[in-house]
């Protein structure tokens, strides 16, 4: 049975969110244990359910700075299986290359996850269903979305920590562009750009409501991201059950102001918390992990001095 989308609530009527920051030195670390311990703290309702992990696959990436690393994907999959999920799928619809097979071969996904036939779904070519959008921030009124995505009980956004030359940053909210099928809208999914990237991000996330986010910040990308930027070692994994709060925290870790990032501040009106005082921090603190990312000249305004730090509850 498809999951019920959580209600759209303004910040004043939603409880505080929790975001965990974990320092991780490399992809060779024991990610499975770290993620299991961290995600367990959220008591997620995944037992007996189908969980869909949505990584960010972009293209060939020899330096490992563009795509969500397969080690983190495999550890996430193992975590949700250990938490009792009946099935954990990995699904993405890359926006910049229709040869998804070439991308998953180039990132060696099979070597980390095992046989892919029953595990991986190419959302670009999945069967689709008309979905009326719940918000009208952009001029989009409906989207044809993959049935596998709509049928999943629990959706996890699994992006890479990167800057983005149009949106400022690309994190768990922007990662949801990948669920819009290329087989209906092309490569790139240009209809989303024409509708306004920032506004379309709100509309898509309000429609499909990712339940959880795990951001691969072990190695990220700074500067001219999301493809042509520079490798940035950040050494963190950031996760939580409010994607807006996760992205706001990621922005702070990147030394950026979330309230200046249009799609985060727009999403904060209905989907989650951006304000630091509404985010309870678990694990490491932003001060301990903040590692400013270089941004393009056009995005220097994001780098202003951040506001108050969130409280640490651990």
């Amino acid at each position: 049975m498809p999951r019920t989308a959580p209600p759209l609530l303004p910040p004043f009527s939603r409880p505080p969110s929790r975001v965990a920051i974990r320092r991780v030195t490399s992809y060779q670390s024991d990610l499975s244990t770290l993620l299991y311990e961290t995600v367990s703290e959220f008591a997620l309702p995944v037992r007996g359910r189908t969980v869909l992990l949505k990584p960010n696959f972009v293209g060939s990436d020899p330096l490992g700075m563009m795509n969500t690393h397969p080690a983190l994907i495999a550890a996430s999959r193992e975590t949700f299986l250990r938490l009792g999920a009946e099935r954990v799928l990995i699904a993405d619809g890359p926006a910049m290359d229709r040869d998804t097979r070439a991308i998953i071969e180039s990132v060696h996904l099979r070597e980390y996850v095992g046989p892919l036939s029953r595990v991986f779904v190419d959302l670009n070519v999945d069967d689709v269903e008309r979905t009326v959008l719940r918000t009208h921030a952009s001029r989009l009124r409906e989207l044809y979305l993959p049935k596998t995505l709509l049928a999943a009980d629990f959706l996890v956004s699994l992006p890479k920590l990167k800057t983005h030359h149009w949106a400022g940053v690309t994190l768990s909210l922007k990662n949801m562009f990948g669920v819009v099928p290329g087989s209906c809208y092309g490569w790139p999914k240009n209809i989303l750009h024409w509708a306004g990237i920032d506004r379309a991000i709100l509309d898509i996330n309000a429609a499909i409501r990712p339940n959880f986010a795990i951001v691969d910040g072990i190695i990220g990308m700074e500067g001219n991201g999301p493809i042509q930027g520079t490798l940035k070692r950040c050494g963190t994994v950031i996760c939580g059950d409010d994607p807006v709060a996760v992205d706001a925290t990621c922005a702070r870790v990147m030394g950026l102001r979330p309230d200046k990032i249009k799609h985060i501040s727009r999403a904060a009106t209905l989907l989650g918390h951006m304000q630091a005082e509404k985010i309870q921090q678990i694990g490491d603190t932003i001060d301990q992990t903040c590692n400013p990312f270089a941004v393009l000249e056009a995005f220097q305004y994001l780098r202003q001095k951040p506001a108050a730090r969130p409280s640490n509850v651990n």
Partner: protein, 323 residues
């Protein structure tokens, strides 16, 4: 060397006739269409690639029967304005109209469905072709972020959005089947502008990608699919240096390619431009046996097309339509 070539031809023929074509025939849905994967809902794009592949090897009643059903699928799904939508439940036509026309032409169906489809292509203009849009672009503060000329346009993926390499290439490939005398001066001019757009969007050093060729002064990386279709669309201009550069990139890149789509499309292009193919039939066959992911219908279609020695699908002629 000749012996190797004969063995390879035999291997290709066996692989196509024993693997690819039966897989395509068996994957056809009751409505005559194909889904992107066997057993999935019928869609125009995979149906077009399956039809092109089966038409290329059109022998025997089984294939004829499959093609007849496919033609019925296209006829049933055509929208009132002559276009086809990417998914049957969508109400607006898109780039798949080029592919549907191409498939109808390949199956020998020069009916009013084909005429209406080509007329829609003639009328369809991308969002970046209008004067108003260009004026706004000139005033935009971010106009210099990506390097491209706003003077050129081709075809878009979906109505009202920008021109992109692949949909433009598909439109050019199907329009190439019409003799020049069947095209109005305006249409001939539009085709010229679309070809200029393709050259303008080439990545520095050759090849094309799904995005912008250069953003913030950094060159984009080419990709196989857009490069292959852009090269096929520009086949008549094979003497230009841009074509040579792009073929060189495709040839060099083929060493690292590990997917049936990229292998097949690379082979098609290298073959029609007279270069040595990169992935022999036995390697494609071996990959299919080893693969733990089912081939998609377009993948199977492209592999079958890549192993055709005739390449009829790239040399179709349409005699009944004037634009």
């Amino acid at each position: 060397m000749n012996d190797i070539r004969i063995l390879e031809d035999k291997s290709a023929s066996a692989f196509v006739h024993q693997e690819c074509l039966p897989y395509l025939r068996q994957s056809q849905n009751i409505d005559g269409g194909w889904g992107f994967l066997a057993g999935k809902d019928s869609r125009v794009e995979p149906t077009a690639w399956a039809t092109l592949a089966l038409s290329e090897y059109c022998q025997g009643n089984e294939i004829q029967d499959a093609l007849s059903k496919a033609i019925g699928f296209f006829q049933n799904l055509q929208l009132a304005d002559g276009s086809w939508a990417a998914s049957p439940s969508q109400l607006r036509g898109s780039w798949v109209t080029s592919l549907a026309c191409w498939a109808l032409l390949a199956s020998g169906t020069e009916t009013e469905n084909l005429t209406a489809g080509l007329r829609w292509l003639q009328e369809d203009r991308p969002g970046d072709s209008g004067r108003w849009w260009r004026m706004l672009r000139r005033l935009a503060t971010n106009r210099n972020i990506s390097r491209q000329s706003d003077s050129y346009y081709g075809w878009s993926w979906t109505p009202g959005t920008a021109s992109w390499v692949e949909p433009t290439s598909y439109a050019l490939l199907v329009l190439r089947s019409l003799p020049e005398a069947a095209l109005s001066t305006e249409m001939q001019s539009r085709i010229r502008i679309a070809k200029q757009m393709l050259y303008d969007r080439m990545c520095p050093g050759g090849g094309w990608n799904c995005g912008n060729p250069m953003v913030y002064g950094v060159a984009g990386e080419p990709q196989v699919t857009p490069t292959a279709f852009a090269l096929l669309a520009l086949l008549e201009s094979s003497s230009r240096s841009e074509i040579e550069e792009s073929l060189n990139w495709l040839e060099k890149n083929s060493v690292t390619v590990a997917s049936p789509t990229s292998n097949a499309l690379t082979n098609i292009v290298l073959h029609v431009f007279g270069r040595q193919i990169a992935t022999p039939a036995h390697a494609l066959s071996h990959n299919r046996v080893q693969d733990d992911i089912s081939w998609s219908i377009p993948e199977a279609g492209w592999v079958a097309l890549s192993l055709s020695s005739k390449q009829h699908w790239l040399n179709l002629k349409c005699s009944s339509v004037r634009l």
